[in-house]
Symmetry: D2
Subunit: 432 residues, 4 copies
Amino acid sequence: MGKQRLGFLSDFVEAITRRKRGGEAETLKALARPASERARVACAVLMGRIGDAARVAVAEQALSAYAELDAEERLAFFRSLRDDHGVDADAIRAAYAAWDAQPDAAGVAHLFEVVEPARQTLLRRLNMAPGATLRLVRMRQDLLAAMRVDPDLAPIDPDFAHLFASWFNRGFLTMRRIDWNAPAAILEKLMEYESVHQMQGWPDLKRRLADNDRRLYAFFHPATGDEPLIFVEVALTQGMPDAIGPILTAPDAREPAAADTAVFYSINNSLPGLKGVSFGNFLIKQVVAQLSADLPELRCYVTLSPVPGFAAWLATQDDAAELRGALAGGWDDDAVDALRPQVLAWGARYIAQAKARGGLPADPVARFHLGNGACAHRLNWPADLAPSALKSAHGLMINYLYELDRIEDRHEAFVRDGEVALGAQIAEALKA
Amino acid sequence: MGKQRLGFLSDFVEAITRRKRGGEAETLKALARPASERARVACAVLMGRIGDAARVAVAEQALSAYAELDAEERLAFFRSLRDDHGVDADAIRAAYAAWDAQPDAAGVAHLFEVVEPARQTLLRRLNMAPGATLRLVRMRQDLLAAMRVDPDLAPIDPDFAHLFASWFNRGFLTMRRIDWNAPAAILEKLMEYESVHQMQGWPDLKRRLADNDRRLYAFFHPATGDEPLIFVEVALTQGMPDAIGPILTAPDAREPAAADTAVFYSINNSLPGLKGVSFGNFLIKQVVAQLSADLPELRCYVTLSPVPGFAAWLATQDDAAELRGALAGGWDDDAVDALRPQVLAWGARYIAQAKARGGLPADPVARFHLGNGACAHRLNWPADLAPSALKSAHGLMINYLYELDRIEDRHEAFVRDGEVALGAQIAEALKA
Amino acid sequence: MGKQRLGFLSDFVEAITRRKRGGEAETLKALARPASERARVACAVLMGRIGDAARVAVAEQALSAYAELDAEERLAFFRSLRDDHGVDADAIRAAYAAWDAQPDAAGVAHLFEVVEPARQTLLRRLNMAPGATLRLVRMRQDLLAAMRVDPDLAPIDPDFAHLFASWFNRGFLTMRRIDWNAPAAILEKLMEYESVHQMQGWPDLKRRLADNDRRLYAFFHPATGDEPLIFVEVALTQGMPDAIGPILTAPDAREPAAADTAVFYSINNSLPGLKGVSFGNFLIKQVVAQLSADLPELRCYVTLSPVPGFAAWLATQDDAAELRGALAGGWDDDAVDALRPQVLAWGARYIAQAKARGGLPADPVARFHLGNGACAHRLNWPADLAPSALKSAHGLMINYLYELDRIEDRHEAFVRDGEVALGAQIAEALKA
Amino acid sequence: MGKQRLGFLSDFVEAITRRKRGGEAETLKALARPASERARVACAVLMGRIGDAARVAVAEQALSAYAELDAEERLAFFRSLRDDHGVDADAIRAAYAAWDAQPDAAGVAHLFEVVEPARQTLLRRLNMAPGATLRLVRMRQDLLAAMRVDPDLAPIDPDFAHLFASWFNRGFLTMRRIDWNAPAAILEKLMEYESVHQMQGWPDLKRRLADNDRRLYAFFHPATGDEPLIFVEVALTQGMPDAIGPILTAPDAREPAAADTAVFYSINNSLPGLKGVSFGNFLIKQVVAQLSADLPELRCYVTLSPVPGFAAWLATQDDAAELRGALAGGWDDDAVDALRPQVLAWGARYIAQAKARGGLPADPVARFHLGNGACAHRLNWPADLAPSALKSAHGLMINYLYELDRIEDRHEAFVRDGEVALGAQIAEALKA
């Protein structure tokens, strides 16, 4: 942004930065300009020649104005991020030429500097405002939505992703166990964010936090305070469960002493704006470590997971038409016994053979757990009779097994060779 | 790092990542290889194809091995950072060519990706280990020392600086007041880090924290825990002080109610490894805000600052030979009265006219406060009789004045035109 | 308890106090004796010659055994407290004779010692067990129930009351504001303990904690942890409210800035076992101080209180037969206007003239607030249409006004002369 | 205090209790009366007919005025406590007569009520002021000093002792480990209160808190906040130590893993005003429990204790004249070997046979540990060469051994039969 244009904006700058001591701030808002203009101008000022300390106030102005934008105005805001806060093409060309002539580390450092889009600096400066980090995460959530309307906005997403990966580095996260002594304000968020097996109000929530046979762990980040970034719900059971119903409806009675199994039955990412920043693998690993220390009698760490893509995939399989028909009707016990072998066979094929782009498993939950080094241990049917689960997976669920001494081997085989580790039952079903 | 080399290193990888459950970790250390090799290999493994969660342990191995290195080995380690974790020149050329052919945002995003040296990713991954952030800050401190031995290491410093600027973003910092109820472990660090006016043991420290007329504020970062990154010491006084002695030796007695002035008499950056990451301006601003809220009767925010470059500069001024001679001897009260006009005149010239590269003031403390929008308000002589202050500044000190409603104007005038705001006394002395 | 009997009980003593190191405690319970016997014996042991430190474990045994008792067994336990842990009559006679002969302070000190029933020592020793204080408060709740069955147990209640008054001294209590960030475990207790205007689930609770125009403060005691001993709910309003409905159902929207009145609309004592230990007056006073500091724009501190004894009292007034009849039917707006003067007149008489034993106001809520120095400011009708309020007070409510500069005068006039401070409206209604 | 006198004091009452809202409190102090009068009057008001909530302010006035008293005025204040806040003799006589006629529990309850001196109520009401508990503890410290001047004040001490025993009930205490992360304000108190082996400044303190082989635990009470009531210093060693020097001067280096012994080498009661309220036994028991849980490899819990009365006692033994002479000179190694048998023999007699009034051991430290159920295990000489230890015990020290499975037996034998448990070395020396 040239000197001239900043001159043109000087009344705004003055409004933002020059406050009468002890009095009310004269803000951009007071100038009665539209929020879209205020947001854009504040961003420009933020990139200009003001003192670092003054930037905190300007960043606040920018984020406040942004918060007032409607969907259409947000599109314009993101286009401005793309077009007004990108790179200086001439500077890139010059830096490249210099490096090309003398390709040393100093040249790279300079090239890196000019290739980094200005909006990364802008985002870092916006982040100076109080509570800014969470607001920027929500801004990216808006961007992801905006990209569905205007795919040409896509190139600015990597800048958000790049910064968030750095800010939400695993080293900055802290895991906390959440129980019934946690603040209600946090518990309320859990209810809102739980989407795998939705909570049926406070008594259900309380049950899931019961000390004797349930655990709930979440990652928090200092800059986003009491916002649980991701959380996992654990049931302590005897043996590996084959259906979700008993876990969700078990009364609060069993003693934990007898439990030998920790079941990860629900993992939820809370903030869509953190898409692509990986937390789940770290969380599972740390929860396993914590539980091992607290409850040495646990012998088995396993999930009870949905198979979200199964029904859609099955619908594409010509040979499965008859099975689909049978599943469409209601099942009595006899039907279940009769159908199970087929469901398991198709389920095994889906997990082991259905692939997405890049050769990874088609099922997103499978990709996650197999990528973490777990094994697709056992299919369960019928295991989830909730309407959504019936619709997406005909009620099929799966246990992924985390065997601590095999996790790295499996991870490597999965990443290197795309090898999917299978339990005996699934391997057997695959032969059918 | 190619597949082959990772294969060659497989025993290391295995040692790091494959642990028997419940037993002792077999670590690289157990393999009895030199720390330098362990550090290098762990970094290689960290950049390879292991699971995210396993990286936490590998990062720990790398940092632990690094901690064992001596100065010579550290040089080698940093050269490896430079040479083994840089960029892929072919990838840069290809990405540049693609962008040059079609210069859009997607092309920039890709170019940015390949221009970012691999060591930034490495540093982010090292940061996954517990307590890693502080250890990386100390690693950069080592690097800064190493660069004095081998200037060719300089190009890797921007990568540290770049990440630290992002991690230590103002939005992630929290200001805390430190008083006598703070943990001794923190207070001990203050004593260690105070270098402007060194503390004379615990009673001196306690005096500087006294509730009635002293304050001490520090910035902390969640990832570096109880490490004060920067701290400022404040005295609450009646009127603007003209010497440091009375502040450092005043008994703990005065009541704060009568104070109308907050004197910032010592500002210390604790961690040399955070060089270039600006905290001071934010801290001063927030301390002013805090004090204004707590003590509304304060009317004046001012520093009592050293003039560290004055004596060295004066030694270069031919016209000042006589004054230098006079200052070299002892002063009685008569001599002080006689010399003061000359000292103030030369001091004013030094502050207002002596320039470093780039046209900024030669004095580093002046650069800082003037850059923050303060005014060089008043010179005081003799104001600091400590041997170090006599040597560096002939005992001269200066008050920089923070006038809240003029900070932004002065900042802008300083940045744009190099204009140095002067108080009446200094302006007068300049005419002499 | 004589040596002989302790000898007889030696196996119990041994069971309680002699534990194999590192092994499981052999407890009284393991001896398979009935809980009633275990409780009684543990109390005897507690009063015997064991080491102080061992008493912690014995106290735990006694309280655990007590917790298993049914109502009938509790009666027997309390009789044992009365008969086995009382005083030594001979010792009293001797001490009295000595004091009577030489009535000095030393004689009183000795007499005091022997007159204090042994059960006070017993209760203090029981209080050594972890979490004992709350369990003893619940024990007294049981006692109060037992006294209704067997009034001869009454003489041991003063010992509980005496100790609780000392333990729950105002100086040991801490006031905390409870908001939506409080632990769910505490919030759940509030829902359980609120009996004046019962809460309709979590959304209702959340509304009552809303930051903008509601406050909730509670007293806590260090020994009873997260147990709110008493709490008061406050609404911040414009003007003095004349009905409870709008307060309980107002959506969470109003801004607090405009409020000039703090309305104490519900005060609840949580623990019946603390009957007679006064908290409410302290809590109101401290809440007023807190609100004054936080919200200087508040001008008026007032309650909106029930009149719980009004209907029962009115039923005893022969002249009120017609009014009672009218109130028994439903009211339309016209009826309300017609009836109001009569209701207010009778209400005023009830508040100002109906007396309980000792000449204090018959209405318990009136006794509390008038005793605190408040004024009976205004009657409101109809103000509470909840069935319970219709039944107990025909829907009548009252505002007690706390005028800070008149509280002590009014308190003194009330205590000394039984004078009831009345607002203009009530004074007027009284003339009717 | 009669109505008349309260009438006479009405201006004081008014000054204390009637404050202009929002303005400065008009306090007794403002009336410019002497502190002694203000303290006495405030106590009278506190016992009069003011509202409970107003008592908080009056209690504050009383304690503030008390704090200004000099030693002489304190004597007068305590006499007033004795004479003006005692009992009503007529009421006692009447209550006694009633009980004597019908000696039931109700009669005892009433008698108890009138026999309790009014000053207990006064102390409870004083305790309502903020921070009052600690100030009352210090008031009793003054009283204990005053009793040395005027023994006739002794009868009021039991009232303090009685209340403190109730308030400082073990159930209200919390044990905290103090390490280098504790607030400096607490650590400073430790240095002040340590009187057994005085600390030589902050480095010595830091050494005693070192994580690897030292522990320090203290009891705190919620009402006295950060005041450590009692604390014990522990060294983790290999084997039982026979001299204090190595413990006090050992550099901070040894690893705790190898330690098999926990040595309680210093136990300090901080507040003389809590004389007679037993903490030490509870603290030792809880520290043993904590250490057992944290460091299961510990095999031995032992003290290294002074023998404070040894030299004074030895001076009374005619047969020991020669030994005393020998001890008076300096010792070389040969002398030590020659003298040791005699020192141990006399030491054994002192511990095992020297008795105070009531047949308890003459040595106060022996009384404490033997009363806790420890065994006098081993004498060590020379073990403490500090001048004070040479003077009081000729450098003798002793190990008391806490054997967990024998504590109760030993406690009982000690209390019942005065039996002193002796280790083999001491038993042997006794025969000499």
